[in-house]
């Protein structure tokens, strides 16, 4: 287990090379990939999130930790899929139509991935139709939308309405975030939740999929 702690430390300190090497060695030694995720990766990303909320970590630290986590997950994911392991939840995420700002969305996507969610990242400037198509094709139960601008946040409302009109609203929970977005706005447009940072987004996603 001492060697596996290296994976935890590599993710926490954002060293993607050591994260990858440690994962390779662990898998070669026959360690259960699910155990790597549950006992090292998720706790490491939880700690990254805690440090972010405590203003000990900032955007650069989140990014390098996410990169290390992904380097490990790339090796583990095919093995999990082969075993038919179920993720914590399936999330379709994107920055809404008219908006190309993606650093906040990417941080949320990475933190969700680090928490064991399967993340279907649609990128930026995502139309309501694209969100709905992905929901249907990938059987996701959660939609996460991001907007940076006061001028583009209205696309969140349009997307919620389109999801309702498509008849899939009952099958999914909707969460939103981004600089001008508030809980009040989430309530107004009929979203299920709002968070103001990437760590809180994980807690919210866990709550929504458990509901």
């Amino acid at each position: 287990m001492e060697d596996l702690k290296k994976l935890y430390d590599a993710i926490l300190t954002g060293n993607f090379k050591i994260a990858r090497e440690t994962t390779q060695q662990a898998l070669a030694a026959g360690i259960d990939p699910q155990a790597l995720v549950q006992q090292q990766m998720i706790p490491a990303m939880d700690e990254v999130g805690r440090r972010y909320e405590a203003n000990e970590y900032f955007v650069p630290e989140l990014l390098i930790s996410a990169r290390a986590m992904k380097a490990s997950l790339e090796l583990i994911r095919p093995l999990l899929a082969a075993k038919g392991a179920e993720p914590a939840g399936r999330v379709v995420i994107g920055t809404v139509k008219g908006d190309l700002h993606d650093i906040g969305k990417n941080l949320v996507a990475a933190m969700l991935e680090g928490a064991g969610f399967e993340v279907i990242d649609l990128g930026v400037d995502v139309s309501p139709e694209k969100f709905i198509a992905a929901l249907n094709e990938r059987h996701a139960t959660l939609v996460a939308m991001s907007a940076l601008l006061t001028t583009t946040m209205n696309s969140m409302k349009t997307t919620v309405e389109a999801i309702k009109a498509a008849g899939v609203r009952q099958k999914v929970k909707i969460m939103i975030g981004g600089a001008p977005v508030t809980q009040k706005y989430a309530d107004e447009i009929g979203a299920d939740g709002y968070s103001n940072n990437a760590n809180a987004a994980v807690a919210l996603a866990r709550k929504l999929v458990a509901a």
Binding site: G14, N55, F58, V59, P60, E61, L63, I64, R67, G98, D99, L100, I103, N106, D125, L149, T150, T151, T152, N154, A179, P180, T182, N196, N197
Partner: protein, 350 residues
């Protein structure tokens, strides 16, 4: 009655102007809309119509306006594309010319723009023609924002932790360009420049974007040199940082030596107006503070009036220039913009 410039200069000199000065920041779409709605031929007429003490920006014109290796790109090698968001459009960068760089040598080998490549004769004429009743601004310096564009934002942010030599080398090239250019411009316009713009977006919506050690290492030393240059020409330092930047304000005051702090996003944690007045009111001029994420775009006319009146009360005897927090966006009703400037005009006499 004071002129707009006299109002600003009075504040900057620690004296009491006749009324609270105002300023105007808006997207091009908003300005075009207001010009049309008020039948104003130009911005000067709009400023007069709404009693805005707006700044007059004099920018030097490049002799060659594109990168030598890319005629489609600006002088830094950046291409832009317009992104339509329905009510208007904004420019996004379409490339990141330094994104594949892996060494300091590659940074040095990049073709950086030359500060000499400007039409200084034209700048001399433009400065001479600048209106005497307006505050004149010359010089922009926001290096890490530019580095983010050149490198891509995520890589740029990660570089602060894992590629210290690359980020430092690039920031030095960016600094040298701006320092040499500003020195030339301040010399040409000696006695005619009131403020220069020094900026970096250090705050996000809820906290600093990157840690204080990185800000102290990469940002503040060069900001200080730029501010010292300005001061040596009698030019005041106008500083912009978005967001929740409370933690770094003491450094901005003591190291960079800022004189005006913009835009005071008071809804962000730590940026509450009362606390800023209490802790820094005697040392800096607050600029902005009329909320541009909720009140101006989505509030009522009465909400805007109330916020301006709140600001007058809160900023009290400290120094404040009334302006929107950043550019007015096209979703902002004209009535709210009018309410902002009418309320400060009716209630801002000192």
């Amino acid at each position: 009655m004071m002129t707009s410039r006299e109002r600003w200069i009075a504040l900057l000199s620690g004296e009491r102007p006749d009324r609270i000065p105002t300023d105007y920041w808006a997207t091009d779409e908003v300005t075009a809309r207001l010009l049309q709605e008020f039948a104003c031929p130009d911005k000067e007429a709009l400023y007069t119509r709404l009693n805005i003490d707006g700044v007059f920006d004099v920018k030097p014109v490049r002799i060659c306006d594109h990168h030598p290796d890319d005629p489609q790109a600006d002088i830094w090698g950046l291409r832009r594309k317009a992104i339509d968001y329905g009510a208007g459009s904004y420019d996004e960068f379409d490339n990141h010319p330094l994104e594949l760089v892996e060494s300091v040598d590659q940074i040095h080998a990049y073709r950086w723009p030359a500060p000499e490549d400007h039409d200084f004769d034209r700048f001399t004429r433009d400065i001479a023609a600048a209106p005497r009743h307006r505050v004149v601004r010359v010089g922009d310096y926001e290096p890490f924002l530019l580095y983010c564009a050149l490198r891509g934002m995520e890589l740029a942010m990660m570089d602060l932790k894992v590629e210290p030599e690359i980020v430092d080398a690039a920031l030095e090239h960016i600094f040298q360009y701006h320092y040499l250019l500003n020195a030339r411009l301040f010399e040409i316009a000696r006695g005619r420049v009131d403020i220069t713009y020094v900026a970096e977006d250090l705050g996000g919506q809820t906290s600093l974007l990157f840690g204080v050690p990185e800000i102290r290492k990469y940002i503040l030393p060069r900001q200080k040199k730029m501010a010292d240059l300005a001061r040596s020409f009698g030019v005041h330092v106008f500083y912009h940082t978005d967001g929740a930047a409370r933690e770094i304000i003491p450094d901005l005051l003591s190291v960079t030596g800022i004189e005006i702090l913009n835009p005071i996003q008071w809804r962000c944690p730590g940026m509450e107006r009362e606390g800023l007045v209490r802790d820094f009111g005697g040392r800096v001029i607050f600029h902005g503070a009329v909320d541009n994420q909720f009140t101006l775009p989505f509030g009522t006319v009465q909400d805007v009036r109330n916020e301006v009146l709140d600001n007058i009360r809160i900023f009290g005897d400290s120094r404040w220039i009334c302006a929107p927090c950043h550019n007015l966006q096209p979703v902002t009703p004209t009535a709210n913009i009018v309410a902002l400037y009418e309320t400060i005009h009716d209630n801002g006499i000192l």
